[in-house]
């Protein structure tokens, strides 16, 4: 409010008291005088308490002449008083009689009510805000706690994983180290670094060597399977890799055995780039297993066809087709079980571990795929793995 309105109330009865009560609460209004001929009038006590100047004469010259007074409320109900004040007030001073004051009183009262409601509303709003802030704080605290719990769980998992990787590494070493010594000695004997061996001894040494190879493959495969079944970090790393390169690497690694048994491996890739997002080491193991199987269950002087093709939905299909012993229909489901080997398979190749296809399927499934098989007993088998392209 720009300036203070100074007011005099004439009449300190019930109406005057009510009017004073309201006016005292309005900022910018200063009630300077209250006036009543009855010293016991109910409004006077309130006036005194609020430093309002008390006057007894309703026609007080002091009030009429005070230049500060902007407005006089006349609430005595006496027309005589009103007329007197009307006629003797300064021109700049306004005057209101009881009935007009009633209207003003009503308006002011309503305004007070609204203001009061507004105040209460603001107060409630503030309470709500505080309440919500408190709630938010609680939620925040809970979230922080949860994050903390999550973090410590993660740390723990990481720790377990590290320990597990370390354990696997140690277990591998404990199994492989003594065995490597045996194998080394066997090779030294077979390759004649000591005395020359008789044919009979040599043939036995070669059998020992062959069983050594099986055992070392078995150790490697068992550890691979154990490793695949745990979420160690190396299993989760996925990179963009060209399947063609991995297949070529595997085929190269087989060149010795393939030459010895006169098996021709033919590799065709429809596209130069058959990139997939994968764990390269796992996919190499998967392909190695399927190609190894194709070689091991092929007859000598035969052919193996490896292809990487695209199907109608642009999936990359890796397949290995051999013309070997094939798989009986009753065995088709069992070949993916750990340690299962059919009699015919054992007869053809007795150094199998029975773990290869279990590992291959596990790896395929880790890549949202599967190993599919199609086989005619005595004619050969085709193993396929579809990958969603990059």
């Amino acid at each position: 409010m720009s300036r203070t309105n100074t007011i005099a109330i004439i009449g300190a009865g019930k109406a005057g008291k009510s009017l004073l009560t309201i006016l005292l609460q309005i900022p910018g209004i200063h009630v300077k005088y209250m006036c009543d001929s009855d010293p016991q009038a109910p409004g006077l006590l309130l006036a005194k308490r609020n430093d309002v100047i008390i006057q007894q004469d309703p026609k007080s010259e002091e009030i009429l002449n005070d230049p500060e007074i902007d407005m006089i409320f006349e609430v005595t109900g006496s027309e005589d008083v009103f007329d007197y004040l009307q006629n003797n007030k300064r021109p700049s001073c306004n005057i209101m009689n009881a009935s007009m004051a009633k209207v003003i009183f009503f308006l002011l009262n309503s305004q007070q009510e609204v203001a009061k409601e507004l105040r209460e509303y603001k107060l409630k709003l503030a309470e709500r805000v505080i309440e919500r802030t408190d709630e938010l704080e609680i939620v925040n605290k809970e979230l922080k706690n949860q994050i903390e719990i999550q973090r410590s769980l993660n740390d723990k998992l990481q720790e377990i994983n590290n320990e597990k990787t370390k354990y696997l590494l140690n277990a591998t070493h404990q199994l492989k180290a003594p065995f490597a010594a045996i194998q080394s000695y066997v090779d030294i004997l077979i390759e004649g670094y000591t005395d020359n061996l008789s044919d009979k001894v040599l043939s036995i040494m070669k059998k020992i060597k062959s069983r050594c190879v099986l055992l070392s493959t078995l150790i490697r495969r068992m550890l691979e399977l154990a490793n695949l079944n745990s979420a160690v970090e190396e299993n989760i790393i996925m990179k963009n890799q060209n399947l063609n390169d991995i297949v070529r690497k595997v085929i190269n690694s087989e060149s010795g055995i393939v030459e010895k048994r006169n098996i021709a491996i033919e590799f065709t890739a429809k596209e130069d780039d058959n990139s997939i997002i994968c764990n390269g080491e796992q996919i190499e193991t998967l392909i190695q297993i399927l190609v190894d199987n194709a070689i091991n269950y092929s007859y000598d002087d035969s052919e193996i066809e490896i292809t990487i093709d695209r199907d109608s939905s642009d999936r990359i299909i890796f397949s290995v087709k051999d013309y070997g012993i094939g798989i009986e229909e009753k065995d088709l489901r069992s070949i993916f079980k750990e340690y299962f080997r059919s009699y015919k398979a054992v007869e053809k190749y007795d150094n199998g571990t029975g773990l290869g296809l279990a590992i291959a399927r596990r790896i395929a499934r880790l890549h949202q795929s599967d190993v599919l098989v199609d086989s005619i007993p005595g004619k050969g088998s085709t193993f396929m793995v579809p990958f969603s392209g990059h």
Binding site: N170, K176, A177, A180, A181, S184, I188
Partner: protein, 130 residues
Amino acid sequence: MSNIYIVDDDKDIIDAVSMVLESKGHKIGFQTNPEDLVENIIKYKADLVILDVIFPEEDDAGFKMARKLRHNETTKNIPLLMLSAINEKGQYAGTFSNKDRDDVYLPVDQFLEKPIAPQKLISVVSDMLK
């Protein structure tokens, strides 16, 4: 004929490697733990050192030894061949082929897996001695 020094906790591997390399006229020195390696190798005047990776007290003793040899003025240029039964998923050899990290991670010249394939060992060692 060269002086070849082997560090392996497995005496049988030392014997096997010795049998193979002695057949080619090399002289073999050895120890079964990493203690005083640099001094021993200087004393032995080794032309090539073969290191195992995992030792009973330390999983990566072989790497530590290799780094020690590389940091010594006298031994830093001796060819190092690492030999280990552990090469699952190319764990070590794979990193070995990563040229960016060779110097820090695997400061050796060659890596062979156990068991020892005699022919392979002979050809790798003779290449390294050239």
